[in-house]
Structure formats: structure tokens, C-alpha cells
């Protein structure tokens, strides 16, 4: 019994840290809805039409995956998926350091890396799966499995949209520096009891900014997958990283890892070599001018009445964008020298840095639009498939023999011939099975 007690105590007070979360669920919901709005599901009405679904304006609803399902429109399912992905301890699998390819390790437990979890469902014990792979299965069941009932197919459509919400939640987490540097944080108040309440200030600040109209900029970074460039992100994993154990590629995890600091790895170049601290980029900045910048931008202005004065040492860096090189940007407030800096230097110690609202605001300006652009790109990638049917050389698809007069033909045609082409940009059609769903009838729809 004593052993059990000791294990319990160790588990409760030492080894455990509670779950980590990510951007607040409402931030994820908003980014996901923005991604949906920017995606081909909204901009190209033929996608829903080809799935046999009515236009968005009809506001068709589907069940979500909850035990007592709610009926949600498609955008609502994306919001739900983005929300539910943080339920229970799923968020422990929302980390990915592109330099190591690994996810979070806590108390001896290693959790799935974000792309492994999101793409293949690796390590997910859930009965209902919410991976990219599962979404494809739901699509198949919804549109191609002729043995499914109408109600079941509708349910699968709902699961598909919701699951895509789960998946793009991960790309959004990859636009949070702590999540690409495997840095634990616990935002749940009960973590306080074990002394491990360590909320991500970046996340809570982003949530508050998002709940103030117009303070977060979601747009400005077009979907990364489109017919204009179907090659760069031609696998789901590429959306995370296009290299192996490096951060030099075009994935969103690489962009964030390479260009941004986090609370615990704030220009700690012994741990992460980029971004590099350049002493020439440490710029004394008047607090008044920082507040003036906030007031002039869309962000929440400095609290009134504080009348702060003084100088802060802001550290700038250049954030490279290896996918859209022209969108390389200078982040003028990447980090801030700590108020203890001078004393530490006098004591022969190294400089330390801190992050504040100004650093968060400039990070948001670069990261949130990319979270949306990569999420929208993945939605486009999921629905990229296009096939074209055309007449065969004989000039007809099928022939029904009506030569016997006054006889109702009950069997219709038995064979159809057609030419099939894969119109998906940049992709050849491999071997596989084609399921054709024929809809025909006289005055009524048959299937």
C-alpha cells in the first residue's frame, strides 16, 4: 500500500504537469472559420455541388460527433473540430519540433508529434478518429459507398468536415512558437494546485485580442495550396515541414521555429540557433512610441491612465518566408531585453529576455495570417481531386435496346463506356478502383 501511496504522490505532485493547451479554443475556432471562408469550399461552388451537397447559402446542417449531437452548418463543424481537438489531454499531441521530428516528452511519456497524430491518428486512442486519413474515409463513406443509407452518408459528411477542423487546428498550433519548440505550458487553473499553472501569455493575450473586434488580422496570406501551385504542398506532411530534421523548408512549423522566440527559448541560441540574436538589432525604444504604435495599429491600446515613460530595449529580427520569399518581414519587436539585464551583465551573467504585449502583437501579425493560409491550403488540398468524364470514341456512354415495341425496358443499360481523366493539377492518376454513381430517372431521381 505504501508503494501505491508513493506512486500516487509522485504522480500527483512531481511528475505530472497537467495538459498543455494551445491557442485558446475560441481563437482556433475563429482561425478555422476564416480558413474555411478563404478555402475553395467557399470560393469554388462546384466542390460542394460535385459532392452532391447544396450551396452554402442553403445553410444545410449536419450532426457533429458529440454524444448528443448538435446540428451545425459546415462552418460550424470546422469550428467544432477546431474546438474539440483540445478536449481532455489531446493537446499533449500538438507539438512538433521540426529540428528533431519529435513531439512532447513529459515525465517519461512521449506523445505523438503533431503531424503523426493529425495525419495518421498515430497514438490516438479515441473510438472516433479525427485524422486526415480518417477524413478521407468519411468522404469515401459519404459519397462512394453505395451500401450506406442516406442518413449514414449525411453523418459521414458531418464527421468529415468536423475532422478537417481537428486537422487544421494542428497547423494553427504550429504557428505558436512554444508548440514548435516542445515547450510545456499549462493553462488550466487546476494545474495551480500542483504548482504548475504556467499559462501561455501569448495564447491568452491572443484570445483577448481576438475577442475585440478587428484587433487580430486573419487575412493577408493566401491559401498555400491552390491550382496556382499544387506542387509544393503535395503531401499532408509538407504543410508541417518540407525537410527532415531541419527548419529550412516551407512548412508552417519550420517558419515558426526558425523565425520566432518563445518564453523558455528566448534567443537561447544554444538550444535553437535561429533566430539569431544580433546586438546591432537591440534598439532602445521609448515606451510612449510603443503605445503610440499600438494605438495607431488595430491592436488594443496601452491601458489608459498609466502614463508610462522610459525606454525599453526591443530586439528586432528578420523573419524569412521560404515559401513566399517576398513576404519576408522584419519583426521590430521580436523580443525585449529584461529589466534585469544590466544587473546580470554586471554580475558577469548572460543577458536574458522577456516577452510582452508588443512582442505578442507583432508575432500575431505574422503568425495568425499564416495559420489561416496554411489551414485554408490544407482544406484545398483535401478537396483537390477532380476527374473529368467524356464520351468514348464510340460517341455514346451506353445503349438501351428499345427495338421491341411497346415493351417497357426495366433493366436500362447494362454497360457504360467513358473516358476518364484526372484533372487534379499536377497529379497523375495511379491504379485504383473507380466507383461510378449513376443518377437517372424520368421525372424523379433514382440512384
Amino acid at each position: 500500500m505504501r508503494t501505491y501511496v508513493m506512486i500516487f504522490l509522485a504522480g500527483s505532485l512531481l511528475g505530472n504537469t497537467g495538459p498543455t493547451l494551445a491557442y485558446d479554443p475560441v481563437t482556433h475556432q475563429d482561425m478555422s472559420e476564416k480558413a474555411f471562408n478563404a478555402s475553395a469550399l467557399v470560393t469554388d461552388p462546384t466542390i460542394l455541388e460535385n459532392l452532391g451537397l447544396p450551396p452554402l447559402a442553403r445553410k444545410q446542417t449536419f450532426s457533429n460527433s458529440e454524444p448528443f449531437p448538435s446540428q451545425r452548418e459546415i462552418f460550424g463543424l470546422f469550428r467544432d473540430g477546431a474546438d474539440f481537438e483540445d478536449a481532455n489531454t489531446r493537446a499533449m499531441n500538438h507539438f512538433f519540433n521540426p529540428l528533431t521530428g519529435k513531439g512532447l516528452t513529459v515525465g517519461g511519456n512521449t506523445y505523438s508529434a503533431s503531424p503523426d497524430w493529425a495525419i495518421d491518428g498515430k497514438g490516438d486512442p479515441s473510438t472516433v478518429q479525427f485524422s486526415f486519413k480518417a477524413a478521407r474515409q468519411y468522404l469515401w463513406e459519404a459519397v462512394a459507398n453505395g451500401s450506406n443509407s442516406y442518413a449514414y452518408r449525411q453523418k459521414q459528411f458531418g464527421l468529415m468536415f468536423e475532422t478537417l477542423g481537428h486537422v487544421i487546428h494542428h497547423l494553427q498550433d504550429m504557428a505558436q512558437p512554444q508548440h514548435v519548440r516542445d515547450e510545456m505550458h499549462c493553462d488550466l487553473l487546476p494545474c495551480e494546485i500542483v504548482g504548475l499553472y504556467n499559462p501561455s501569455l501569448y495564447e491568452s493575450f491572443t484570445k483577448d485580442e481576438g475577442q475585440a473586434a478587428g484587433h487580430l488580422t486573419y487575412g493577408g496570406y493566401d491559401p498555400v495550396y491552390s491550382s496556382a501551385d499544387p506542387a509544393t504542398f503535395n503531401t499532408p506532411r509538407n504543410f508541417w515541414t518540407t525537410t527532415t530534421n531541419a527548419n529550412t523548408g516551407k512548412g508552417i512549423a519550420e517558419y515558426t521555429n526558425r523565425g520566432f522566440v518563445s518564453k523558455m527559448t528566448n534567443f537561447d541560441n544554444a538550444v535553437f540557433s535561429s533566430p539569431q540574436l544580433d546586438p546591432a538589432n537591440i534598439i532602445p525604444t521609448d515606451i510612449g512610441s510603443l503605445c503610440a504604435w499600438e494605438a495607431a495599429s488595430a491592436h488594443t491600446p496601452c491601458p489608459p491612465g498609466l502614463n508610462l515613460s522610459g525606454t525599453m530595449l526591443m530586439i528586432a529580427n528578420t523573419v524569412t518566408d521560404n515559401y513566399r520569399e517576398s513576404q519576408k518581414a522584419v519583426n521590430p519587436f521580436a523580443s525585449t531585453a529584461s529589466i534585469y539585464d544590466e544587473d546580470l551583465k554586471d554580475a558577469g551573467k548572460g543577458a536574458i529576455f522577456s516577452l510582452n504585449r508588443f512582442n505578442f502583437n507583432t508575432a500575431q501579425d505574422l503568425l495568425i495570417p499564416r495559420a489561416v493560409g496554411y489551414s485554408a491550403g490544407l482544406i484545398n488540398y483535401f478537396f483537390r481531386g477532380k476527374m473529368q468524364i467524356s464520351l468514348p470514341d464510340e460517341g455514346v456512354y451506353g445503349i438501351v435496346d428499345h427495338s421491341v415495341e411497346k415493351t417497357i425496358d426495366v433493366s436500362g443499360f447494362r454497360t457504360i463506356k467513358l473516358k476518364l481523366a484526372n484533372m487534379t493539377p499536377g497529379e497523375a492518376m495511379g491504379a485504383g478502383e473507380l466507383v461510378a454513381v449513376a443518377k437517372f430517372g424520368l421525372g424523379r431521381a433514382c440512384a
Binding site: 501511496v5 504522480g11 497537467g18 489531454t89 493537446a91 487546476p190 499553472y197 491568452s204 491601458p303
Partner: protein, 235 residues
């Protein structure tokens, strides 16, 4: 005896996380004014919603671990009002209200949403400094109390206005994505009616939006007909 001691220990340890959260919450009254950002004139008829949102955690099978409640947040209190001729509005004090174990208010204590057709929507929460102790006080105040809020008339075409009002759909999603019995939307009929009138304008112009529509409000079989409940405000 040993077994008894272990049970006692468990009984002592297990409720510990609950102490991290208040068991009841109250709120101080809120009073503020709304003016036109350009003219400085009071704006009457602005719909104002305040909702105090509880985050919820759940224990997991691993001792000491907590997860986010899969049911998502819950609404502890929802209120709505409208500005008077002087642009003034107020919410009364309330509480104490009990909260379930492992549930707690965060910066949405409250979240405020405002809307008047023709204007850009306004929203805000309480901004807390990093050192804020969420357990320190169970009586919550709003940072907008005693302030004057400026709202802007929207300038642009109808499509751009629909995009601007996206924020409104997002901010009011708490009322339509609620879990069974999911009747939170019945607490903000005035706001929903105003939004619905605007949505019809967009619909007539064939502009798709994700604003809440009356027909899609959830659980009407249990909560009552939305059309019936909102009819007074839809006139």
C-alpha cells in the same frame, strides 16, 4: 488500517484541485456609455450582450493530470440590454451563483458584444496582467465599467459589411453551439433579432454569411420556437 489510511489520504488529496477554483461567483454592476466615434454623439439602440463564461477542466485517468472538458465552456450568466437615448446602458449586479467543480471564470468575465445595424460591431473582454490571480476574488468586475465606448459607423458596401459582421457571428457562437439542452440563445432575443434582420438583408442580396439564423438556433423543440420568442423584436 493501512487501507483505511490510504482512503483517507485519497479523500484529502482528490479534492485539492477543487480548491483552486471559487465555488461561487458574483459580479459587480456595469454601467457605460456608447458614442459615435466620429461625432461623439450618444448612440441609442445599441444591443449589448454580456456573458460570463466558465472554462471547465476534467480529471483524467492519470492522477494529477487535468484535461479540458470535452463539453467546452459553459455560460455562468448571460445578460442583454440596449442603450437609451443618452447612449447609456447598465447591467445589474448578480450572484452569488454556484459553479460546478473544476469550473472557473477566465478573462471572459464578462465578454461584451455590441451591435447596432449600420455600425461595426464591438467586443471586448477583461485584459489581465500576467500576475492576475484568478482565484483571488469571486466577485468580478468589467473593465468597461464607467467608460465611454466609441463605435464606428461602417463605411463600405454590403458585401464588405457582411465580412465585417463575421465577428458578430463568432462572438455569438456561444449561444448557438451550446450543448443540450442548449437554450442559451433564449437569453439574448433582442440581439438575435437584430442580427437576423441584418442577415435577411444579406440573404436578399445573395450574400452568404455565417450569422446565426433563427431557423438554425438549436434545440427549439426543447427551448421553444425561436420565431415565437423573438417575434416582439423582429417587428
Amino acid at each position: 488500517m493501512k487501507s483505511f489510511n490510504f482512503r483517507i489520504l485519497l479523500l484529502v488529496l482528490l479534492p485539492l484541485p477543487l480548491q483552486a477554483c471559487a465555488t461561487t461567483y458574483s459580479a459587480a454592476p456595469i454601467e457605460a456609455s456608447v458614442v459615435d466615434a466620429q461625432t461623439g454623439e450618444p448612440v441609442a439602440g445599441v444591443n449589448v450582450v454580456a456573458h460570463w463564461e466558465l472554462d471547465r477542466a476534467v480529471p483524467t485517468p492519470i492522477p494529477g493530470y487535468f484535461g479540458r472538458d470535452p463539453r467546452g465552456p459553459a455560460q455562468l450568466q448571460i445578460m442583454e440590454t440596449v442603450t437609451d437615448q443618452n447612449g447609456h446602458f447598465s447591467f445589474p449586479a448578480w450572484g452569488p451563483l454556484p459553479v460546478p467543480p473544476l469550473a472557473y471564470l477566465n478573462s471572459s468575465d464578462p465578454a461584451i458584444v455590441m451591435f447596432k445595424p449600420g455600425y461595426s460591431p464591438f467586443g471586448t473582454t477583461n485584459y489581465y496582467p500576467s500576475t492576475f490571480n484568478f482565484t483571488a476574488s469571486s466577485t468580478r468586475t468589467s473593465q468597461i465599467n464607467g467608460t465611454t465606448i466609441k463605435i464606428k459607423k461602417f463605411e463600405g458596401d454590403l458585401k464588405a459589411y457582411a465580412e465585417e459582421l463575421w465577428f458578430l457571428g463568432s462572438s455569438l457562437d456561444f449561444a448557438r453551439s451550446s450543448k443540450p439542452p442548449g437554450c442559451e440563445w433564449t437569453r439574448i432575443p433582442r440581439m438575435l433579432a437584430a442580427v437576423n434582420k441584418q442577415e435577411r438583408i444579406f440573404e436578399d442580396a445573395k450574400i452568404y454569411t455565417s450569422l446565426p439564423s433563427i431557423e438554425r438556433l438549436p434545440f427549439q423543440d426543447q427551448c421553444g420556437s425561436a420565431q415565437e420568442l423573438l417575434k416582439e423584436y423582429l417587428k
